[in-house]
Subunit: 401 residues, 2 copies
């Protein structure tokens, strides 16, 4: 069998988060691991109403094949939603796909040949790392700090590549409430990044599932997508997974028209179309003023989660443990004292009832050994506090071992 597999298949590795899924499915375990939204953030009531309406008068179109580019009405809603984020887009610059991961894969297929260099934050989203690695791209890490991707590091990495005669094709970034770091790229760095991408001739792929999920009730705190400052040249990927439901696999890409046309071609042969029913439900959810109201509630919910975890960490963590203070999203990044290996500690943590993802899975440069990602989206504030206490004790025991 093994000899029949493709070279791409030879590069594939199991997802560390999916591998934890069996463990975190146990309700006893407090999961600070997988980035699942809270079920409390799902618009169950409104979707129930939509399903009831459909049940009485089911449109066969909801069960038929749909356009590869997605439901035309939903695409128009998305153009409006993008406008609300400051991003200009024509209908032909937008395509729907069944989830952001699907979008990443389609973009990778269309843009990357084996060996192509992709710039990626350290740490970064493992689903993107896996996607690009499976296409056998060369992943080149760029360090972050609390304000996101470091521009000086990027320039230094670019110089190194230039010396090798390599021009990167793509820079992948989650600039807002990053997964896994929780960091947000500073406004001035966004503009610098855009300038550098034009100078160097690489594309920016801005992955933005979280920007609507800011804690500050006062608004988005001046955060604008990189794509809001572009001339239509940034590839912008976003999704309904974190703001409505990930089970309704609906995400979208905005990009240059020629690229979107090529993604549509790829999708024709990759999945024909996304779920017609899911798209119909998401369309109904986008109509009227439901979404802004819903988002206000979701923001409140995740603010409470984030603040509960941060307060519990402040209270319980031993000296020498550091973490950042995200202003939104699902995640924070924790650094343990050098002598602790987060992956080795995980077994003990799970035994005591708490799970996280070890930092190394997020770092393409082999770093992250003593780091870990904590997710505060899914568990309740009470369980987050409990989880933080358990984790603090695990770390304390490791330190005194």
């Amino acid at each position: 069998m093994e000899e029949l597999f493709s070279r791409d298949a030879g590069a594939m590795r199991p997802s560390p988060i999916r591998a934890l899924a069996k463990i975190t499915a146990d309700p006893v375990i407090i999961s600070l691991a997988g980035g699942h939204p809270s079920p409390d953030a799902f618009p169950l009531g409104r979707i129930g109403e939509i399903l009831a309406g459909m049940a009485n008068n089911l449109d066969p179109a909801s069960l038929q094949y749909g356009p590869t580019a997605g439901n035309a009405e939903l695409r128009r809603e998305i153009v409006g939603l993008l406008g609300g984020r400051g991003i200009a887009a024509g209908d032909e610059e937008v395509i729907l796909c069944s989830g952001s991961q699907r979008g990443l894969d389609l973009l990778g297929r269309v843009l990357l040949d084996p060996g192509d260099a992709v710039l990626i934050e350290v740490p970064s989203y493992p689903g993107a790392i896996a996607c690009f690695r499976n296409l056998r791209a060369r992943l080149v890490g760029v360090q972050q700090d609390e304000d996101g991707l470091r521009i000086d590091e990027l320039e230094s990495v670019l110089r190194g590549l230039r010396d090798e005669g390599v021009r990167p094709k793509l820079l992948y970034t989650v600039p807002t409430f990053q997964n896994p770091s929780g960091a947000t790229l500073a406004a001035d760095r966004r503009l610098e990044l855009l300038e550098i991408s034009r100078r160097e001739g690489f594309m920016i792929l801005e992955d933005d599932p979280y920007s609507e999920l800011y804690f500050d009730e006062g608004g988005a705190d001046g955060i604008r997508p990189i794509a809001a400052a572009d001339a239509g040249d940034v590839i912008y990927l976003s999704s309904f997974s974190k703001i409505l439901s990930p089970g309704l696999r609906t995400a979208f890409i905005r990009g240059p028209r020629e690229l979107i046309a090529r993604v549509e071609l790829a999708a024709q042969a990759c999945d024909i179309c996304s779920s017609s029913l899911d798209q119909q439900i998401v369309l109904e959810l986008c109509r009227g003023d439901f979404l802004p109201q819903h988002l206000a509630g979701v923001r409140r919910l995740y603010s409470e989660h984030g603040e509960a975890l941060l307060a519990a960490l402040d209270e319980s963590m031993p000296q020498g443990v550091e973490w950042n203070r995200p202003r939104g999203g699902f995640f924070l990044w924790m650094r343990l004292p050098e002598r602790i290996d987060a992956e080795e500690m995980l077994g003990l943590a799970i035994e005591r009832g708490v799970a996280y993802v070890s930092g190394r899975h997020f770092c393409v440069d082999g770093s992250g050994r003593n780091a870990l990602r904590l997710t505060f989206s899914k568990e309740s504030p009470e369980r987050l506090q409990e989880g933080a206490k358990i984790l603090a004790n695990v770390i304390r025991d490791e330190l005194s071992a």
Copy 2:
């Protein structure tokens, strides 16, 4: 932009059927083109009941991320469904995917490197041709006759490849009510094919969306999947798209455990999971005795469609036009007199109100110029008869031009 695209993207071509979709969306046009199921075959009433039940008591799990391999209960239902088709499968030999096209792409990713030889029927399903071509596989055609793939042709193609030192990796076949030919591979040929694949060391990918859709009320007429005679080594791909609904993107692959594990790895980075809601609905539809009852009705419907088209062709087609008589499925294959180019004739046909797909799009060897595929699934018997008459007149005019 163009220089940024991958080599795979350079190989991509628009789907001829999707390109026709805009034309066939016009309700005035009688579409014998795209292979859409009839909306009359959708279980609207039963799905309405399921949605009403969900509306009252929506399980958050239907909106959450699900397992990459698919809903565990649905996988078990599928193991049972496979058993009903004579195919043995353990839970770990089955994986769900969001549509058959998705399954083809995942299998292609895991099995094929650029340049790998794939044996494929002439004519064959354009979605499979596109999928393998986009992975830059080498497509090697094997002729069919009314009993499907010709074994003598296969042996001859294999000899030719052997002379080149090439071992094919995969043979792709739709053995039952083939798309586009409507032909069914004879029982003895199925066993011979299996034997040859073992002797030569290539895998068989059996794509089987249509075998439940036989016309003969007496039963499946002795048709058994190739996979029903294997030792678990045939890759068997099937789907709910043609028997329930293609909008609920739910298909499944059965194959060797190591292959399924690798497909799951690929899927983790390609789409994480399929729609949780769609899978929940399909699961409900699989429960109890609904599916067999529904299938009896669907078979009756498509029998009437197929017979209406065949009768109208018998009545109206001029001499020199030939077509086969499928015993199930959605399609038949028509050969026009040599001097007619089906692609050139299409414009006139559409002008007169009928659409089909030209034969060349199904043939990897450049043949099919004077052939075309007629789909009888979607249009009503009356419109099929009307369409056949229009088409007969178009052909007559071409012949006398």
